[in-house]
């Protein structure tokens, strides 16, 4: 079928036929769980895709809308009986939709904005350092300074006010641990991930490369990311563009992985907290794609007086916050309703805080606390760590 010629040679062309229609993926899919039409779930969408491939159905707007209400959370991939990499399959079909000019308008806007302004919000480079406002540490000297460690802030952290604290906390941790680090300041641009999710994959590598070239000049060897999706898209884009896996050149770490590595070197000192019970929400990409499961738990465990209790659906079986895959742009209401479903999982836990390590999870869950009028504090892992660090004089006393 001409509409889906993207599938040819992708290695995914037979996926709809390999699918055993067992239905495992339907029951875990957040969009199905919310909307309860099987056509929003992966099995249903594969059946429609099959029908399109066989020429019995058009790749029409209704199908594309359903496609863009998928949060690319990879839960279907996780449970698939026939080991289909379904998230990649959905990305390929999104590419077909892009080529046909059929992607939802907000998605198209965000993708074009990334190419024009370097971020999905059309804010431009002059807004890149907004996150540092109010930070009581001077970071001017860090901008574009050669160092082995770099902190990639990412658009959502740099430009969404609620996440500024994430970046500020990470800076505090870097300083506390005496790490020599660099940041790209206004020269940092989007990781390119949203272009992949929007179906405009061909332009994604260029975005990643703009950052990578700068890091190379600064002698960077490892990069810390406050958003796991940025890590996820870098190896993909760069590897595919230049044939060299970016992981071979740089060590790419999320906040929790970096903090965990500091703990292993005993580089952080904490002051005792007053018995706080938290529950850790694994971001889909961290847990399912990057397999970052033990590190955040170990980080939390290391803070005296803070205890983590896992939700029923956690680790690889974590549930999506609804803000990935550009669902938050395609349909903000549906996105926030998925976040509410996740917050319901939190609400049965005896926890006063929910900790995560993804700016979109953080923002989505925090919004859900408002829409559901449910009181729980939502924090990035860097925040709870930074506020538990021992003060300088406390350290000297020890």
């Amino acid at each position: 079928m001409a509409d889906l010629k993207k599938l040819e040679g992708s290695g995914h062309e037979t996926d709809p036929y390999i699918c055993a229609s067992c239905g495992n993926c339907t029951m875990v899919c957040p969009t199905f769980r919310l909307l309860r039409w099987e056509s929003y779930g992966p099995r249903g969408r594969l059946q429609i895709t099959k029908s399109i491939l066989e020429g019995n159905q058009e790749l029409d707007e209704e199908y594309v809308r359903k496609l863009f209400l998928c949060s690319l959370c990879e839960h279907c991939t996780q449970v698939c009986t026939t080991s289909l990499q379904l998230d990649r399959f959905w990305e390929l079909i999104r590419e077909a939709a892009w080529d046909l000019n059929m992607v939802p308008a907000p998605v198209e806007y965000a993708c074009k904005s990334i190419m024009k302004y370097g971020d999905p919000f059309s804010m431009g480079s002059s807004s890149r350092m907004h996150w540092a406002e109010g930070l009581d540490i001077d970071i001017q000297d860090r901008i574009e300074q050669p160092a082995k460690t770099a902190y990639f802030i990412g658009c959502n952290v740099a430009m969404k006010p609620r996440s500024h604290k994430t970046a500020q906390s990470l800076i505090k941790i870097l300083e506390h641990s005496g790490t020599d680090y660099t940041i790209l300041g206004e020269k940092e641009v989007c990781c390119g991930g949203p272009l992949i999710w929007g179906g405009n994959k061909k332009h994604a590598p260029a975005m990643a490369e703009r950052n990578i070239w700068l890091y190379r000049d600064l002698g960077v060897e490892r990069i810390i990311f406050s958003c796991p999706s940025c890590i996820q898209s870098w190896p993909k884009t760069y590897k595919e563009a230049a044939g060299v896996p970016v992981q071979k050149e740089f060590e790419l770490l999320t906040n929790s992985q970096f903090i965990d590595s500091l703990n292993k070197r005993k580089a952080l000192k904490f002051h005792e907290q007053s018995n706080i019970t938290v529950t850790y929400h694994d971001p889909c990409i961290s847990a399912r794609r990057l397999n970052i499961i033990s590190e955040p738990r170990e980080v939390i465990e290391k803070i005296p007086g803070i205890y983590n209790i896992d939700m029923l659906h956690s680790k690889e079986d974590t549930r999506c916050c609804g803000a990935h895959g550009l669902v938050n742009l395609t349909d903000p209401l549906i996105s926030s309703q998925i976040a509410e479903m996740r917050l319901r999982d939190v609400s049965v836990m005896p926890a006063s805080r929910v900790i995560t390590e993804c700016p979109r999870c953080l923002q989505a869950l925090e919004l859900a606390t408002q829409t559901m009028n449910y009181s729980v504090q939502v924090q990035d892992i860097s925040e709870i760590v930074a506020e538990s660090l021992a003060e300088k004089d406390e350290e000297d006393d020890r």
């Binding site: 056509s39 449970v79 009986t81």
Partner: protein, 495 residues
């Protein structure tokens, strides 16, 4: 006449369902919208395609004999009143209603054969009552096994029986299929043993409670008698831990004999599986032996009867496969069945319900056919009760190889006939196995037929299943016998 060419003539399509095009599309949809609201009824092609599929991974040509394999409407219901309303619309227009749960039942159980209304019950998903003292739970039909487990877990209880499709099935769908074999059934009893009562909406729109001896007919009635809207089931304490023991055997006879001996032990397992080397290679490959026996016990009341099992295994020359192999077998209990599908276009299968004593005979015959017809066959079995096993015979096919495809159908047909001769029959009935109903389960067939006639005179509930079918046993018998023979002939021609 030999068994091979015996022709039993049975009138096709005995139900008086109209084969005329569905009347006045708009008026039906408008009425359905009136019952469930705009957001819960659809006649778009997209939804109709999605709601007409199930795991029968058969190529499209297999469906030609089905007259209208797409639903005309999809309706999602959330209350008993809505179910009654939808049935009312269907009755007024003389169109079929196909109840649908997780649509994980194979063999076309919830796929339409004459268009009609695909009735999605997944939104009726409340756990209505947990009575720990009485050891009972009352649920709506769309409750998932996961949700039920979570809810009962809060009380330290569990249902204790579930199909290996528990990740996708719902409770009403399993009742629809009769739930004879599942994880937990060998020690906790079949679904029927655990059913206390059912609330059913009959085809005339009335509500009835089914209890006692009548449960047997409604359990496993594939939606032909009405829509189950509530079920009360027994619950029990959740075991603290379990232990799985896995053994490899080099001969079929030995794995089957050991399996029979294990089923005869006083302590019954939660889960018992046997499988061949090729089946295992797609999930948990065997390093020792050609066949596997895996058996799981709860560990709290008594520990597993390890000594007795090991004695039986030793006498058959079996080998313990190690703790981690056993743990993996248990972890794979949901997925192993369909893992082979990743490696073929069509995973054709037939599920048999056979006495454990006859398992060896059936498998010996199946393995012989595999060699003689050069069909890529695999198999696995799962204990249902202490004496009956759900035996799944599979063939991994490419539908382009028509002869191989049809020969495999022929071989599976022979296997069903063999099972019937030995007192067993097909496991899932659904659409495709309804041709065997009268031969395999004549008494059940006639009781259901009688009930169907009185309860559903216009035949709107899930037609062409269980009590009648769109083709006859005789016709299929000839086709399959010929197909299997052609394949053998083809071998000589090729030579």
């Amino acid at each position: 006449m030999t068994e091979e060419n015996e022709v039993v003539t049975e009138p096709a399509a005995t139900e008086p369902v109209s084969l005329e095009p569905t009347p006045e599309v708009d008026s039906v949809l408008v009425q359905l919208v009136g019952v469930v609201g705009k957001e819960n009824a659809s006649d778009t092609e997209l939804e109709r395609i999605v709601y007409s599929g199930d795991p029968s991974s058969l190529p499209q040509f297999h469906y030609r004999w089905k007259q209208r394999y797409l639903a005309d409407y999809v309706v999602r219901v959330q209350t008993i009143e809505e179910v009654k309303g939808v049935i009312g619309v269907a009755r007024n227009h003389g169109i079929p209603v196909i109840p649908r749960g997780g649509a994980s039942s194979c063999l076309g159980s919830s796929s339409p054969s004459r268009g009609g209304i695909s009735l999605d019950l997944k939104k009726m998903n409340k756990v209505l009552e947990v009575d720990q003292a009485k050891g009972m739970v009352r649920v709506e039909p769309g409750v998932t096994f996961t949700a039920l487990d979570v809810e009962l877990g809060k009380h330290g209880m569990e249902l204790g029986i579930y199909p290996s499709s528990a990740k996708s099935a719902v409770i009403g769908g399993w009742i629809g299929c009769g739930g004879k074999a599942g994880i937990g059934t060998p020690c906790n009893g079949t679904l029927l043993d655990n059913l206390v009562s059912l609330k059913v909406i009959l085809p005339d729109g009335s509500e009835t409670t089914i209890e006692g001896a009548n449960l047997d007919l409604y359990n496993g009635s594939y939606g032909i008698l009405g829509v189950i809207v509530e079920a009360t089931l027994a619950i029990r304490r959740k075991p603290a831990s379990i232990k799985t023991l896995s053994y490899g055997f080099s001969r079929l006879e030995h794995v089957c004999n050991t399996m029979v001996r294990v089923t005869q032990l006083e302590q019954k397992p939660i889960y018992l599986k046997i499988a061949d080397f090729d089946f295992q290679s797609y999930s948990n490959p065997l390093e020792k032996g050609k066949y596997v026996l895996s058996v799981t016990y709860p560990e709290e009341t008594q520990s597993a009867p390890v000594t007795d099992i090991e004695q039986a295994v030793a006498e058959s020359g079996g080998t313990y496969l190690g703790d981690s192999y056993g743990t993996k077998e248990w972890d794979l209990r949901y997925d192993c069945e369909f893992n082979p599908k990743e490696h073929c276009d069509t995973l054709m299968f037939q599920e048999l319900w056979v006495d454990v004593e006859n398992v060896y005979d059936i498998l010996k015959a199946y393995e012989k056919h595999k060699k003689s017809h050069k069909v890529p066959s695999i198999w696995f079995g799962m204990l249902g009760t202490s004496s009956m096993m759900r035996l799944e015979l599979m063939a991994m096919l490419n539908p382009d190889k028509y002869l191989e495809f049809i020969a495999s159908k022929g071989i599976l047909h022979k296997m069903v006939k063999r099972a019937i001769k030995q007192g067993g029959g097909p496991y899932t009935i659904g659409l495709q196995n309804s041709i065997y109903m009268k031969k395999a389960y004549p008494e059940r067939h006639s009781r259901l037929k009688e009930l169907k006639k009185s309860a559903d005179p216009s035949g709107i509930m899930n037609p062409d299943r269980v009590t009648s079918c769109m083709t006859s046993y005789g016709r299929m018998n000839i086709l399959f016998v010929m197909a299997a023979a052609f394949r053998r002939l083809g071998k000589y021609v090729a030579r």
